[in-house]
Amino acid sequence: MISGAEIVIRCLQEEKVDCVFGYPGGSVLHIYDALFKQDEVKHILVRHEQAAVHAADAYSRSSQKVGVALVTSGPGVTNTITGIATAYMDSIPMVVLCGQVPTQYIGQDAFQECDAVGITRPCVKHNFLVKDVKDLAVTIKKAFHIAATGRPGPVVVDIPKDVTAQMAEFDYPKSIQMRSYNPVVKGHLGQIKKAVQVLQEAKRPIIYSGGGVILSEASGKLTRLARQLGFPVTSTLMGLGGYPATDRQFVGMLGMHGTFEANNAMHYADVVLAIGARFDDRVIGNPEHFGEEKRRIIHIDIDPSSISKRVRVDVPIVGNVADVLDEMLKLMDGGCKTDPEVADWWKQIDEWRGRKSLAYRQSERIMPQFVVEKLYEVTGGDAFVTSDVGQHQMFAAQYYKFDKPRRWINSGGLGTMGVGLPYGMGVLMANPEAQVACITGEGSIQMCIQEMSTCKQYGFPIKIINLNNGMLGMVRQWQEMFYSKRYSQSYVTSLPDFVKLAEAYGHVGMRIEKPEDVEPALRKAFTEHKDDLVFMDFIIDPTANVFPMVAAGKGLTEMILAEEL
């Protein structure tokens, strides 16, 4: 017999979890004690529980493995909510273990009591409260199973302190059967055949790829399919890297800040092959406007509720993206004939491309787009790039050309400022040799800045690219364009001296103010300071805006382009 706390650790070992991100406290002291007595599962001590969850989330995003966070009851749990909701919106598999007050105190407003199951319920795939040590191992098994299968997502396991002290036999189930949970994997063959038929009839096709392609490890298959068909490919923010961005068939990201060619191609396509994407408001703009063009939509998604949610679909295929693409490729193996008129469609797309919608104005000052372009060059396009939320995030998505999946790590669905730095930590735990750049803004970075201390403790050599415009830039951009330049609370005064701040934490800081210094600074950071965390404070042109832009409520083709202002 072993204690509940030891069972928790043994479960993690059985799940091959090599590290957990966490923060101790009263309710989890037994678990921390069990953690102390072994060294298979490493623990990364963050400086705020939100960061533990973000790091676990990025560990998963960058590796496909399930990320794990461990926190105490009460404030420990409440501090995780933003992190859990962020992972939930982007369907990231994650297990959050949290301490709870002893079972006999539950409901009595005990010290550091919080209804973890209740407070997390709307933002988890599932959650459990373990009331009996005999249920502990099987519950943790279920948690990992649920997190990683079907449409992935975060799962919370709430463990009262007395349960971690009680003794039980340890018996970890090899597999788990749940009558209420049986996610579909294989797509319906008849539907897949129909889809292939529709694709071959298409005259103006587009492949619209999303985060599901990355989550199901299907980018190789998507690439083969797209090449075989010769169709243009666009991607959502979450799907970037699912199809190589430097490939000729890639027309760029679509949506609110999508390219001119991607948005037009999406709008005017007669056949849309949507793969692991969900037609959300940031992607198709105004659904009525989108609905004005007639098109046939094929939608592959593991979650039936994502299909026909915002846009009516003609050929729904419920299944794991990788499995469905496999079947499609098999069906097309005997060679597939696509409609010759697709060549005319390409001519049209090239014309749209000629509009060069990502060209940006030059300035005496550093342009943020330029920094991202230089970062791309200096890192050979091969870095893991985490970002925060704001203009800098969009610049990163638009100008860093991701050729590989799981390299672009950002909060798409929830749009959580503050994720960038902890995301870098999670990436490095999963990929210790990786080059990691965190593209951020002076607003966002301050939302989890305390993690510079964690980075010092564990030697995370993240390169922080602070695109410092002294503004909550994205907010300022909307105020400039839609609120007659009434810059209400979007100006960040009293910024810290980031160089000194980095140094105070024991890192390297640089301030870069001139365009000609951008590249040398980046090179220095990635060579001379390869093993250091370098905080690069780029003082950029504060008036730079993100274009193209589809304003909220507008149609996809009603883009505001750079020169039109």
Binding site: G118, R121, P122, K125, I146, M178, S180, Y181, S305, S308
Partner: protein, 163 residues
């Protein structure tokens, strides 16, 4: 459109709040909700009366199916089914109203299950519309309390919701 959704769900603590939470988070309507364990005590059966367009109903059933504790979901109103609701209604029953109340209960095939000098409690079972009409038929001033269970229903014949 009015729909009756039947759900088989694991009889776990918190299962009800997952369903109720889903409806409120996604802005779906709940007109009534009933839940109780089935002959297999590890399963509960829930019946939700809701309304919405076909698109909304499609989303409701898909989202319910997504809940990890939910075993099966069916929209009863898609095919022949029977539905019932139980109401207990306490009315003032004095003087000439006493006979009148008894008469009304008889007409609607209700039963008087509690009698005091001044009140009756009438039990009435039937389709919700029948309960509505009973309430409408009474003098509102005489109604002291109404308690309704909400609709429950079952498919006809071979339509069986079981694991």
């Amino acid at each position: 459109m009015r729909h009756i959704i039947s759900i088989l769900i694991e009889n776990e603590s918190g299962a009800l709040s997952r369903v109720a939470g889903l409806f409120s988070a996604r802005g779906y309507n709940i007109e009534s909700l009933t839940v109780a364990p089935t002959e297999d005590p590890s399963l509960s059966r829930m019946t939700i009366l809701t309304w919405g367009s076909d698109d909304v109903l499609e989303q409701i059933t898909k989202q319910l199916n997504k809940l990890v504790d939910v075993v099966k979901v069916v929209d009863l109103s898609e095919a022949p089914h029977v539905e019932r609701e139980l109401m207990l209604i306490k009315v003032r029953a004095t003087g000439k109203d006493r006979d009148e109340m008894k008469r009304m209960a008889d007409i609607f095939r209700g039963r008087i299950i509690d009698v005091t000098e001044t009140t009756y409690v009438i039990e009435l079972t039937g389709a919700s519309s029948k309960l509505d009409s009973f309430i409408a038929a009474l003098d509102g001033g005489l109604i002291l309390e109404t308690v309704r269970t909400g609709v429950c229903g079952v498919g006809r014949g071979d339509r069986i919701l079981k694991v």
